[in-house]
């Protein structure tokens, strides 16, 4: 799916969603959810070369833990933003903020080992 067809599809989906919002808001939410998921899926599939190059760079610099942690945090960010935008789109701002809170906490948990590594590296430098 190249960019231009995605753009046209999103505008058509937005028009469908506004049409449905007047009569049946729940179907408007369904259309926007599926359209968001579809575009997100096609973008993600096009991103695989980016991940491969990132992994190669990670192996060249040091072991692969840091790059994979960064990629995991990226995945968590994408999913939580998808879910919170859908909730905010239907007017549930409270649920949207809770989903974002959950995403932040999970990213923090993912990056805890990196903090330890960082602190230990700094301490080694300071003790020189």
């Amino acid at each position: 799916m190249d960019l231009y067809s995605l753009l046209g599809l999103s505008v058509a989906g937005a028009a469908l969603a506004t049409l449905l919002r007047q009569y049946k808001p729940e179907f408007a939410m369904a259309v926007s959810l599926v359209l968001g998921a579809f575009i997100f899926m096609s973008v993600i599939i096009n991103m695989t070369p980016v991940f491969d190059t990132l992994k190669e760079l990670g192996e060249r610099v040091s072991d692969n833990r840091y790059v994979s942690a960064v990629i995991k945090c990226l995945g968590v960010c994408y999913l939580t933003s998808l879910a919170s935008d859908i909730c905010r789109d239907t007017g549930q701002t409270a649920i949207a903020s809770k989903v974002e809170l959950a995403g932040k906490v999970s990213i923090l948990l993912l990056s805890l080992p990196l903090f330890n590594e960082l602190i230990s590296i700094i301490l080694d430098l300071v003790n020189l």
């Binding site: 449905l20 369904a30 259309v31 899926m41 599939i45 991940f51």
Partner: protein
Amino acid sequence: MDIDFIFRIAAIGIIVAVLNQVLQRSGREEQAMLTTLAGLIVVLMMIIYQISDLFDTVKSLFGLR
């Protein structure tokens, strides 16, 4: 995940809206509400499978668990 899935959901929404109006005009509010509920359930069942394979793709690509 193909494009006409989105338009299928929009079509179901429009059909349910029209059915709802017809049923309400003819005095059957309960059936109107039930058809809306049925349409919603059908659409949600269709969506669940698409969302689940989206999450599987993301998990496999980003190496999340």
